[in-house]
């Protein structure tokens, strides 16, 4: 398979600058996970202490939303750039993969395809397209609501839990067949079985203790706590062009507040991440500064992003060919 990088748009960056930005750091990664897990623990303790009162609803909402951002750690460790140490990347890749309910092998290989063929709809298909066309507008809005995704699970062709259960049963789904090499599929099935086994243990624990708490802490956060992760994640490509070889046309950079930017592991600089995936998330802001004169103007905040995404997705509900026309510097 030939991928000519020259056929994809690349901004000009001095090689020494890019190499410096591409260096990994254990300190940056460790600092992130310490703050992240401390915040998760703190919100989890508050949820426990207030269990039985309405305050627990608020604190579980906070806990669940922090928990769901394990997805961002999964993504960066998937690239192997979160830490300098391969061992630390591997350990936190497995931890965060379980937390975000991503069977790690499937998501490693589909992410390779996603980077080679961002938003390509055929040969090969990018299984990480978040809003397929024609857009299901109701399903799009339900993604932001706690437990909302469950209402459209019958329409979802790769709902992560459903897919993992199928893989655990040894069923070779289209995503496994098309994106994961045959020699890697047994590993995907193995890790799917590990995840499902842990889920069963947690469910059993909830039954034995006659308490929702084990499930609320470990399995259900991805169902009730995905609001802010989804708000951030759907800014990446929604409403933009498919089948283009210029990430500026298919991908969006957004300027977020420091809290969301931290939880989201700087993935709001998403055009820069796609063009230069060697650069660790910790350095994406600096990379953005280095190339911003060659990029479309970033959207300012979630409001800035969704002011163009929502009208575009609604239009794509009836006109699958529609996409936002991005102005790129001459």
């Amino acid at each position: 398979m030939q991928v000519n990088l020259d056929s994809w748009y690349k901004p000009t960056v001095e090689r020494k600058v890019l190499k410096e930005l591409s260096k990994r750091s254990d300190a940056d990664g460790v600092r992130h996970v310490v703050i992240y897990f401390a915040a998760l623990l703190f919100s989890g303790v508050l949820a426990y202490l207030t269990w039985g009162t309405w305050w627990a609803v608020l604190f579980f909402f906070i806990y669940g939303n922090i928990f769901a951002f394990s997805n961002s750690i999964q993504h960066e460790t998937n690239h192997g750039t979160f830490f300098a140490s391969p061992r630390l990347n591997l350990i936190f890749w497995h931890i965060s993969s379980f937390m975000t309910a991503f069977e790690p092998i499937r998501w490693k290989w589909t992410h390779f395809v996603h980077h080679s063929y961002t938003l390509h709809t055929k040969n090969p298909y990018d299984f990480e397209i978040q809003v397929t066309r024609p857009a299901d507008v109701v399903a799009f809005f339900l993604k932001f609501i706690p437990f909302g995704g469950l209402l459209t699970i019958h329409k979802s062709f790769h709902y992560v839990h459903k897919e993992t259960i199928m893989h655990a049963l040894g069923i070779v789904t289209p995503v496994l067949e098309q994106s994961v090499p045959a020699e890697e599929r047994p590993k995907a099935i193995f890790w799917a079985r590990v995840h499902v086994s842990i889920w069963l243990v947690v469910i059993l624990l909830s039954v034995i203790t006659r308490s929702w708490l084990p499930m609320l802490y470990i399995i259900l956060p991805n169902f009730y706590g995905g609001t802010f992760l989804t708000l951030c994640g759907l800014t990446q490509h929604s409403g933009l062009a498919e089948n283009e070889k210029d990430h500026r046309l298919s991908t969006r950079t957004v300027i977020l507040n420091p809290v969301l930017s931290f939880l989201y592991c700087r993935m709001e600089y998403h055009i820069e991440h796609h063009i230069f995936p060697l650069v660790p998330c910790h350095n994406l802001k600096q990379l953005h500064e280095a190339v911003k004169d060659q990029m479309p103007a970033p959207r300012m905040g979630l409001i800035g992003a969704y002011s163009e995404i929502i009208p575009a997705v609604i239009k794509q509900g009836s006109d699958p060919a529609y996409n936002i026309q991005v102005q790129v510097p001459a």
């Binding site: 398979m1 030939q2 991928v3 990088l5 890019l18 190499k19 591409s22 260096k23 990994r24 690239h79 192997g80 750039t81 391969p86 490693k108 290989w109 390779f112 980077h115 080679s116 090499p181 020699e183 230069f276 995936p277 060697l278």
Partner: protein, 106 residues
């Protein structure tokens, strides 16, 4: 056995330490690496995963990383160290002679 031809690739100073440079010879693309000191190595120049030019990547800790998917190869041996690369790179002998660098191509 030295079957092949020693090809003068570049001046030694053309490559920084812990860096890579690409070159073409007889229509084929190669990569030459310089590790710390005067240690030069060479390999095929395209990633074995999706044929991306490795010279657009970087050398870290003795490995060249593909700029596309972060697949890495041991510069000294060509061994594929991380996925998505699963096939090793073919390596070639490289050495410095005076201020020039030569690669044995066959």
């Amino acid at each position: 056995m030295n079957n092949g031809e020693w090809y003068q690739v570049c001046a030694a100073d053309d490559i920084d330490e812990e860096d890579v440079m690409g070159f073409e010879y007889n229509g084929k693309y190669y990569a030459i690496y310089r590790l710390l000191g005067d240690n030069f190595y060479a390999s095929d120049g395209l990633c074995t995963h999706e044929q991306v030019k490795l010279a657009d990547g970087f050398v870290f800790n003795g490995c060249i990383e593909c700029p596309r998917h972060n697949a890495s190869f041991d510069v000294k041996t060509g061994k594929a160290e991380t996925p998505p690369a699963t096939v090793d790179l073919r390596s070639y002998r490289a050495e410095r002679r005076g201020d020039k660098v030569f690669v044995l191509l066959n």
